[in-house]
């Protein structure tokens, strides 16, 4: 659609009496939106094609009257006189053209909108109190803005199927459907899985899945998002919570390296749903079902709630200072080459940086993250299921690609060369280290959200936070630095990962006062060149592109020097400041 030429041709367009300029190829409805004139719409979605079947976006359109000389005739005010087309036009399927004039609030337009609203509501059930869309329903909103206050419909409403299971995650209520076809087009155009269509005719037209097919692709829940009414509902979220209770926190999905931008809907520290947030650099308006529903583990039975230390063979709950002190004590018993750290690509940049500082302070060489791969697709889901592999590359600075050292570490653990093992947010089971070998370790410090084999054998267990419970930054697979925000508070005594690592770092002997995660980020931006000039708040909601993926950083000797230099400069600055 967009013009390919470097300097796009600009058209003069009059909207509600004011002349504006828009590039060639802009749709009228978008042009109106750009100058702050909202045209109601149901079927139109900016990321989908325009079928023009809801008729809600009707406007009046006209062109300048041309004189005999084929020049626009000018009126008394010196402006061209418009010849209005007597019929209303839809604004969603029309591109702007030179001299076009648009009226969005004329009596004709208002009458058309009222009429369309009345038709749409004829068979629509009046069940807003039970409908999950209530509160974010276009039909409700436009009914108030453009519709009538009373129904003139006296006949019986058409009965259609209710509670239709379209797929494993989507439930359909056909009575509420206004036949906008957004879901059909989404499946065809975005998900490339043509499963939905209309059957029957007239008032009896209904949405359904093609015979023998189900709406079960990994993007099916996006149809729920784009459904302007409550026809398509998420089976998971259905009837759980009214949307007006939800506190919306902007965050990112951490289920794969794509890092889709999301909104986390919570109420009183419970997550009810995740929805995609528009970011054209990352995920457009979509996200996959896998990532969307991947928050249930936060309330799992085996969530770690208390810091624990092993005493006489049993794990007992202790308070945080004691757990940290115990962990530091155990780590300090061993020399650097006897310690190994298995970090995670699910940790934020801040946590990875603190981990690297911890490794440095202990003199640890055995440090790596666990690669996590799964089948990807060419839409959004990435093969790399670690959300922050790039962050680990950049900050943890392993000498090789992430995961390369793991076998060596596993061997070292098995052979008894490694006596203290720190497992941060990972499970060691698929590394070939058996439970018995873990149990033999004199020091096994495990930080995690849920309990697993490693935490059960650990000498110190540190309960940490999940993605929705913390603030921090990650770098996605395409090198974009994005921000996580805290949506809920952690349960029990679980603590922010960066705080745990900071306390551990201080207890081990290194580290200075870092009072907030923003401080940690500032420290990163002083040491890692790609982060220079950034702060956690400067990242913004949409993220910042900081890596060109061609130049993946590899460990060069000069990098090590750079860090040393930066640390020295920083220390000098602090000294000056304290004077």
């Amino acid at each position: 659609m967009a013009d390919q030429t470097p300097s796009p041709q600009l058209f003069n367009v009059q909207i509600d009496g004011v002349w504006h300029q828009f590039p060639k190829g802009t749709r009228v409805i978008e042009a109106c939106a750009r100058v702050g004139v909202f045209v109601p719409r149901y079927c139109y979605h900016k990321k989908l094609s325009s079928p023009g079947n809801c008729r809600m976006c009707l406007i009046e359109m006209g062109f300048p009257r041309l004189g005999p000389d084929r020049k626009p005739e000018l009126g008394a005010d010196g402006k061209p006189i418009i010849n209005w087309i007597p019929r209303p036009q839809i604004s969603c399927a029309q591109d702007v053209s030179e001299g076009m004039a648009v009226r969005t609030n004329s009596p004709l337009v208002k009458e058309c909108q009222r009429g369309v609203m009345e038709f749409l509501l004829i068979n629509h059930p009046l069940d807003c109190p039970i409908c999950d869309q209530a509160g974010e329903c276009r039909l409700q909103e436009f009914s108030v803005d453009f519709g009538n206050s009373k129904s003139r419909f006296l006949e019986n409403k058409v009965k259609k199927p209710k509670n239709v299971v379209l797929g494993p995650r989507v439930t359909l209520d056909d009575e509420r459907c206004i036949l906008c076809s957004r879901c059909i087009r989404f499946c065809q155009e975005i998900a490339h899985d043509d499963v939905l269509g209309f059957v029957d005719r007239g008032s009896y037209t209904a949405l359904t899945a093609h015979p023998g097919k189900r709406l079960e692709n990994n993007y099916s829940l996006n149809t729920v998002d784009i459904c302007p009414v409550g026809a398509l509902t998420s089976t998971d979220f259905r009837f759980k919570m009214r949307v007006w209770f939800l506190k919306e926190t902007k965050s990112i999905c951490t289920s794969c390296a794509t890092g889709c931008n999301t909104i986390i809907g919570t109420r009183e520290d419970v997550i009810y749903r995740q929805t995609p947030r528009e970011n054209d650099h990352v995920n457009s308006c979509w996200m996959c079902d896998y990532g969307r529903l991947n928050f249930k583990y936060l309330e799992a039975e085996n969530r770690l709630l208390e810091p624990q230390i092993r005493s006489d063979g049993n794990l007992i709950a202790v308070d945080w200072p004691m757990a940290i002190a115990e962990a530091a004590l155990q780590l300090k018993q061993f020399a650097g080459h006897e310690i190994a750290i298995i970090a995670s690509g699910r940790m934020t940049n801040e946590e990875l940086w603190l981990t690297s500082q911890l490794a440095k302070s202990l003199g640890v060489q055995w440090i790596d993250i666990v690669p996590r791969r799964g089948p990807g697709d060419d839409i959004l889901l990435s093969e790399d299921r670690n959300p922050n592999t790039n962050g680990a590359r950049l900050i943890l600075r392993p000498t090789s690609e992430p995961g390369a050292k793991l076998t060596a570490i596993a061997e070292a653990v098995k052979s008894g060369e490694v006596k203290a093992l720190m497992i941060l947010k990972e499970n060691t089971m698929h590394l070939g280290i058996s439970v018995e070998q873990l149990a033999r370790l004199p020091a096994l410090i495990a930080m995690n959200v849920l309990s697993n084999e490693a935490t059960e054998k650990a000498t110190v267990v540190l309960p940490a936070c999940s993605f929705a419970e913390k603030r921090g930054s990650m770098i996605n697979g395409k090198g974009r630095l994005q921000r996580l925000n805290r949506a809920v508070r952690p349960p029990g005594n679980a603590r922010d990962d960066w705080e745990i690592l900071r306390d551990l770092l201080q207890a081990v002997g290194g580290g200075d006062s870092l009072s907030s995660v923003d401080d940690v980020f500032r420290r990163i931006s002083e040491t890692v060149p790609q982060f220079a000039g950034l702060t956690l708040s400067k990242i913004g909601d949409l993220g910042v592109h900081i890596l060109q993926m061609e130049e993946l950083p590899t460990m060069r000797p000069s990098d090590e020097e750079n860090i040393e230099q930066a640390v020295a400069i920083q220390a000098r600055r602090r000294a000056v400041r304290s004077h």
């Binding site: 209710k162 009837f239 919570m241 009214r242």
Partner: protein, 176 residues
């Protein structure tokens, strides 16, 4: 601009304030005397005498859930009352009506409906906001309990206070 309030000019008798004090004392003594002689009767002896018989129709007592003539709990767990409630006294857990049920069409019902009567301020907003005419403020006003838990009205208690409501709008008939 400052406004100077004009003060009345007082003569010497008024300035001594004594006549005013004496008049005041006379007024209070008159009330005292009338009360002592039983001529004034304004206080109602509450537990023995009650207003119950003369409570006006619009009296706002304890909120309660009502059933319709079919014995259906009218509430559909839309949670609007929970949202509007100024002291946040209402807590609803919605549930889904199984498809085999007579009222499967209604789809949703309150699995739990708690009103914390310690918090309730009897404002009646829940009644006003209810789109289903399911919650009404009844005339019960003596809500007591020995513990905080006692003061939470659960669904059963709310239905018991509410009873059956006749003549409310039938929304779930075939037409709508």
């Amino acid at each position: 601009m400052a406004i100077t309030v004009p003060r009345p000019k007082l003569n010497w008798r008024e300035r001594s304030y004594l006549p005013a004090i004496v008049a005041g004392l006379a007024i209070t003594f008159k009330h005292f005397k009338n009360m002592l002689l039983g001529r004034t009767k304004v206080t109602m002896q509450y537990p023995e005498q009650k207003w119950d018989s003369s409570l006006p129709d619009h009296y706002r007592g304890a909120p309660a859930l009502v059933q319709d003539e079919d014995g259906r709990v009218r509430c559909v767990a839309c949670q609007l009352c929970e949202f509007i409630c100024p002291p946040r006294a209402i807590k609803i857990i919605p549930g889904e009506i199984p498809s085999a049920d007579r009222f499967a069409k209604v789809e949703k019902y309150p699995e739990a409906f708690d009103i914390d009567m310690i918090r309730c301020i009897f404002c009646g907003m829940c009644e006003e906001v209810c789109p289903e005419q399911a919650i009404f403020l009844r005339k019960d006003y003596a809500i007591t309990g020995f513990t905080r838990a006692d003061m939470v009205h659960h669904k059963e208690k709310l239905l018991e206070i509410g009873g059956v409501m006749h003549g409310v709008v039938l929304k779930w008939n075939e037409k709508k």
